[in-house]
Symmetry: C2
Subunit: 157 residues, 2 copies
Amino acid sequence: MALKEELGLKKDFASPAHEALLSIYYTASIMKKRADDFFGKFGLTDVQFNLMNLLYYESGKEGGLSQAQISDMMLVNRANITSLVDRMEKAELVTRTAHANDRRYNIIKLTSKGRNLYTKVEPHYLEQVKKVMSPLDAAELKRITGMLEKVRRTLQV
Amino acid sequence: MALKEELGLKKDFASPAHEALLSIYYTASIMKKRADDFFGKFGLTDVQFNLMNLLYYESGKEGGLSQAQISDMMLVNRANITSLVDRMEKAELVTRTAHANDRRYNIIKLTSKGRNLYTKVEPHYLEQVKKVMSPLDAAELKRITGMLEKVRRTLQV
DNA sequence: AAATAATAGTTTATATATTAACTATACACA
DNA sequence: TGTGTATAGTTAATATATAAACTATTATTT
């Protein structure tokens, strides 16, 4: 949900802050659609790719991540990880095994199929991102992320 | 889905462009949670509030909007509007009536209950937005929205 | 050690989002 | 005028998101 028209049509209604909020929503919404189109070509969603990315880079020495860790890292509710892992387990992209010492935890790891798919998709993704972003110079990007970081801190997260 | 950790931990992996994308995702995700918390106090979701806002400001002279218009304005799929209007019709916030001349169209209007709720919530919302955003000066906000606008154009939307 | 807390994960109900296939209606043009 | 096409909305299947209530396990505290 993005409310495109608000950005242009409601100058008398929208405060600058409100405008900025809608603008961020709108941009994120468009990017999500683009990402889903892209990852769909590989039978993935953007969320599934991002979990694979996490598992690939953050679970040191094949140690895997617990669902709670994934939930924290992706900033989504625990309940959400259950169904996400269900789907990816069914697609044989990840495994879910009980932790040896603490049986409350499930340890999620990439399968070799998952790892192969990730290493196949990642370079295309990075290339795509670079292509989309290349017209913007690096300084401007730094400024955007820096300011968003500031907005985030203002929102006390 | 926001991948908080990527922003800090994967400098070697994330290109500046990739970083910027994740940053926008992350910020939008946090804002959506905040908005939902806020609107939840009034029995609304952020999406429902935004539809009410559209109907309140954009449907001139009580003319209402068709579902296709709403779909275009909110940048979401047509199918989504069906269920959104279903829920809001059930809550007696909007009505759905057939267009007199072209029976393909449904015309969606705020009920008096919907209008009353909207005018009750809006000032609180604007106050809240102002409060959250006040630490940032207007110039910075202008720059953020201006740059996001540029990103959007680069994405050819 | 037993009672209580906290933590991890699941389930259920709900809201939002997509695409694809469908119906109904209106338009267009040959 | 009739047929093909375009448009509006719905439905179904699927993916993601939340909160709340639940089970199982571990930690703490007396």
